[in-house]
Subunit: 337 residues, 6 copies
């Protein structure tokens, strides 16, 4: 396998970071992070279009594509303080979900095995199965917890006659043992799916799912603190899966299964920052950005910023671990940090 490049548009790297080739181990041997595109929407139950998500998220920025993004908030450069490469897209034919997910799992495992954090740009949420599996195969099945921002639990069983699809990856991950049910932390659920049977199954797995009602009643930060404590209990790493539909569709319309009543963009960015700053994140995916339903690229921008927020916080976590002052959100921007 040589570098595949982009299926859906030109072969770009995320904001201009260096390219690598997963078939050439030397090309990313020193990587801290490898970005992987998963242009797949064959698992979508409703509106497709996420196959253009990787290209859109790589491009959505008004600043030069120069491989550098110094964070105002965290005072690190997530693209420079970490060694970040972009491996391009994995070939994923939307008409063949099994082969496509397998190919992605190989790619993600390749990255994880090299000691780097895979950051996968979806694609629909079907890809969380190979994403988290690929990471767990390296770090140990059941040794990676999953922090999952989403409007939907994604724990369906068989849908459209198939075990795979964007409503089912979390069930498959638990069934396979890749992730322990009681190390699943779901944030932002709401709406009218799944029904009681699936909820019972989830309860039986001892999943911890924070529906919006609870988040509003108890406060998002309180719930995150509680969830993060569970996430690191008996787990060495955390996989962060961000479905952009966790944000209210009024603010993030470019997605396939919009569910009103979600988080604000600000809340999501802050939560991702906390997750990556406070927890030992070993893998990330950002999914369900569907450009055909977007307007003025605002959802693509949000996906891009979720990635940057994650990378910035990982970089800051490493810097602070190396002896820096801990990050203080109340400090004025222009005070020395």
């Amino acid at each position: 396998m040589s570098r595949y490049g982009a299926m859906y548009g030109p072969d770009l790297t995320f904001l201009g970071v260096p390219a690598c080739d997963l078939a050439d181990a030397a090309s990313f041997a020193d990587a801290d992070v490898v970005i992987v595109g998963a242009p797949f929407d064959g698992g979508t139950s409703h509106r497709p279009g996420t196959r253009f998500g990787p290209s859109a998220m790589r491009q959505a920025c008004y600043l030069p594509h120069d491989g550098s993004r110094p964070s105002l908030a965290l005072r690190v450069d997530g693209l420079r303080d970490l060694r970040v490469y972009d491996a391009g897209d994995v070939e994923m034919f939307s008409g063949d979900i099994e082969r496509s997910l397998s190919a992605l799992e190989v790619a993600v495992h390749t990255v994880a095995s090299a000691g780097a954090i895979p950051v996968v740009l979806g694609g629909d949420h079907s890809i969380a199965l190979p994403d988290a599996t690929g990471v767990a195969r390296h770090h140990g099945l059941g040794r990676v917890s999953l922090v999952h921002f989403d409007a939907h639990a994604d724990t369906g069983d068989v849908e459209f006659g198939n075990l795979h699809g964007h409503g089912q990856p979390m069930r498959r991950l638990i069934e396979s043992g890749a992730v322990r049910g009681d190390r699943f932390l779901q944030i932002g659920l709401r709406g009218y799916w799944p029904g009681p049977d699936v909820l019972s199954w989830m309860a039986a797995q001892r999943m911890r799912s924070y529906e919006m009602t609870e988040l509003v009643a108890r406060g998002l930060d309180t719930c995150l603190t509680e969830a993060f404590r569970i996430a690191v209990d008996e787990c060495e790493g955390v996989f962060l899966s961000v479905d952009v539909d966790v944000v209210d569709p009024g603010m993030a319309p470019g997605t396939g299964t919009p569910e009103p009543g979600g988080l604000t963009s600000r809340q999501l960015l802050d939560a991702v920052r906390r997750c990556c700053y406070e927890l030992p994140v070993v893998g990330v995916d950002v999914v369900e950005v569907a450009p055909p339903y977007d307007h003025a690229d605002i959802t693509a921008y949000l996906g891009n910023r979720v990635v940057l927020e994650a990378l910035s916080a990982i970089a800051r976590r490493r810097r602070d671990a190396a002896g820096g002052d801990p990050w203080n959100p109340e400090k004025p921007l222009l005070d020395s940090r």
Copy 2:
């Protein structure tokens, strides 16, 4: 009159609930709720398009149209735990507002007289006049209070030379005695209309109008609690009228008279839930969803979810009244409820 079906598109029912025919009393004899479409925008002072609101709100969902929607938050199925029918659209020619509103009043009264809760899908807000009148004629003039979410007071007098229109229904309701002025609870007003004369008239009626400034300063929940207490004072029932423009146009662009600075979608859904869970709601309308100005159906989705939220809360209220545990918003999703 036989079932009219849809004027603006195919004859659909709301998310697949059974159809009924208002001309055939047997077809909805056991109904708890009857949905009625009011595809009318002849009363709109600015951007039209709400005639497509009923069709859009009936369809806006990524889940199967199977007449079932189990609420994650409330653990009831608003479409199954209640007996819900959809009577289709009332014939309403936008070029003849008087005849159209009369036809709708007949339809709403027919539903209320059968002991069911009418849920009217607008249409522009002109329809609140026949909606609340039709209900009040059954429950008693002046015996139904009105909880009204809106950016606008809708208490104008004559506009465009006419007594009817989407800026005037609330005045007509008070003048006719259908609803007492001091049982009008308005939530979310803002902007630059109406002027001092109309405000004086409103004050003279002893209406209680919560402008956004007060909601921000005192807190939405505090204000709702206060308003709800008034609503049930000497009234047996509550009519809930939700103008989608109460939400900020940034989150709900598909409407005719957008006024920046509104509620979030999350706030509206929570407020509707509280209203229908805490109060004896006897009628509902959801108005001013204008699909031509919508993007990616997000405003139609919001309208759909407002209906579901109302039905879910009504179902939960009935379940709890029948002896269930009261609903606790702080309880985790997967704990037995």
Copy 3:
């Protein structure tokens, strides 16, 4: 199998024609035409969205959904003079192209075997393989010619590692013997695909492909006359496959692989009319209408009108065959026809 209904939205029939159930032979025993939805876009190489094509084409009309459409041009009612049913959608999971195409082939063959003309609403062009195969299995392999309006030849071999996809159905049909290569009439090709190897293969099959250059230089009607003569040579029936991208993307933007320089909508409608009036059409599909990329439903309207034009012309052909005056396009509208 019971009637499946709609995967992507409510269960509608085409402009209100009666529903039937392919699992219940009696429900369409007297059908002249059965409409079948193929909501599948797993075979799309670029922009997805055609899964919403069936729903969009069924609804795109400003007239009542009453199962009647009297043609001004042909003075027949394609939905009433013929017995037309709508079987709803076939379950087609976009993530599994092989199973999906098989399910569609069964459905189409079921219709053809009942003596009716299947009219399949796509979906991407992958479905032409099961569409034409299902028909040919009934009428005889190699006994049905194929008139194919398209910007693309769709004769690719393996793409994305798969034999199936929307760029390959025509090759598969020839390889399987379902349709003879020299009875393939392609109208409207243009652009930059396929390359010389595939063109050589096509020439070897003795396909007859009319690129836009030839159509402009010789005249569309001249070319159609020539093509239609070939189509009925040693063939009993004709399958008409209309890819909406044969029309210029300026007039039909809602499609996945737009190629500038196409026919006008008027030209396509006239050509479809001629095809169905002059030839013994035994099956039709209309594909590649992708609503997410459409504007103001204009491409969905065009797809809807292609279906109506085909049905009207079939009805007129039957009427004239039964002894009516032949159709004369120069006759004034209001002269008795």
Copy 4:
């Protein structure tokens, strides 16, 4: 009545021509042309929005709003060589079609009585009834023929329980005697409406309706020549009514009842030019431009250019009548004209 100004936006004049006030006869005493806005869409059977047509058509231009538009093709300035005023909008409440149409008829008659040509900017096609009636009342009932570009015949009887609406004005005009049935020239009809009964009625009135089939088969120019000959037989004046949906919806999407297969923009402009250059036009309306469904203002631009084309041709007709060289379309642009 004082100058009403704009209902739907600021009070603008068409490309900056001088304003006049219909209540002040002196303000337009010397007018050749008076533009009148008819912001009404209460008669629309499907997509509304034409109430914003007048404002959109007045503004849609990239050149300065300076009240001058020298035509390259005709070498006259339709806004300066004629004395053109803009009377603003007539107050037309979309919820009351009868009152609204009456008010418009008064306005149009006022203009015609002053010896000027009214040019009415719609609004939906309901307005053709007051437009042509207002003109005919001045020039003589039955003395003005009607040249009508449209996809639809607009000869329906009762619809939505009403005699008025955008599908019925032509019938009302004939019934009232304002326009003779055999002086109705309809250009561009197509599609699936009206049905046989209405067509029989039309034939009985001896209307002459050119469906697209005939236009394609015989040639648009041939048909226009024939129609124009009829138009001036026993009639002193011609009313030109242009429904923008006569153009293919691919090129003019911003309209309410799009019917694929229409004229090109070029064809319409050329036909309007011929009509106003060759015939004694005494009134014009341009209707059915619906901005909410438009994209990048292209339909509004088309409406604006239809007005300019008409005014330019009227100006050129007058110049040539005053002794100029007749217009020659084959002459190079830069030759002295």
Copy 5:
């Protein structure tokens, strides 16, 4: 120089306030406020379109353009209680930034010199340089502080080889001495620009920049109170510069350099109100509304409402200063205020 009128569309005034001509001092001699359009986007580093901002903000309202807007929240009419004129647009060719900014500075200074508050409708943020300079030249260099709502610091040095552009005005203002660095109050910064060098320069100027992190952690109102205290320290006046991109792009998509994670519309309106009610504002600009990227005019509406909020608060401040009761946000709308 005579009144220039509008470059980009018809010559409108803001919601119908009277026009004035900057070349004719008498035409605005008694003005409290003069609105000036700055249709310039030649300084934009990414998406252009703000040249249409002035026209869009002037028109974006569903109420009559009658020069009156009584504020529900503040019970004053910002357009009537103040004497407000609109001077039209300044001629600003986007291809020549230096000449354009100079022309604007002259216009703003002319307004300020007449004792009126200039309210400039942008245009891109390049215009803050002439806006604040024009005001400071009248009130005294270094005597006017700057309250600046924005996602970006706009303190870049040379970009695209030029000293001017929408990312640099704040630096130029400090360098020239027009505004003191330590009287710059920036609210809402976030994202990934500028880098450390520019931040160091900003710190050296003793600017006070509130990044979103601090605003969330400490509370927006707390930060505003702190900032406002600085603003009036040793300064007689405050210039308020509102870049609409301070609001989250999900709620205000029509802008050129969208940065996710911003304020809500409600927060911005409340903050602008506080600023203009609590501080001695002597100039305002509202910039970066880019209509080509807007949807359903929601961003234009927001810009319009920011202007109205500012004017209403200024009017209320003056009324209260003249002896009225101070404004109390907790007071019910219908209580006498």
Copy 6:
């Protein structure tokens, strides 16, 4: 100068052709064609956005970005049979038109001097001045004729107080002597600009401008044949300047100054093909593609295909000149060519 890359998005090459660097002569020493991006819209008089034209035209294709595009019509591969490089964008700050145009002229001249054909992707039409000048400086002032497809003559004098802008380049080219007035061939003019004075100036220069009226009356092909004959009279080379607004805005909405009544896309592609096949083209620009006003990328696709059509025809011209059979548009696609 090192390779500048893209100002407005990532650094892409046109459909994947190799990159070159204008500062490194060796990188394009063997080039037949060098593509240059001119992301400039500072000269636009109305809607901006063409700065994103180069990026959009480089990307707008559903086929792999592999640097190969075999033309069905011409049976050559314009990207492979010619040696084509992409030099990236020239730095052009839209706020400084003079500096920007100078920088582009240097770039174009560099390409021409190397013996390659520059193909410039605009950008607004201001760039035609440096484009044609840069070429003429190499081939000889007055020795290159200009074939100009456009709705507008672009021969204005001073506008917005400036000699440069997108309405003036053709005048500047004639004034400077770069192109002879009587070797200017303009195709597709229409509308209401320029006025008589400018037309007189044009006539005095002996320009030959084909307005749409003449094109319709005499036939496009007849006019092209006439124009092409003039173009090669006493000129060694032809510069082809294609303003995408020559196509009807209904088919090409993504542009700044849309003028209804234009060519179809098919007509433009055929005309460009003829121009590049029949004439000795030495430079090309494709301008006025404005992505913010585009829909579903259809105008960007058209711009991309204009470039490909030009390159294909140049390649075929060279092949035929080298002894191949002349191209015959009537020949079937699959006959050996």
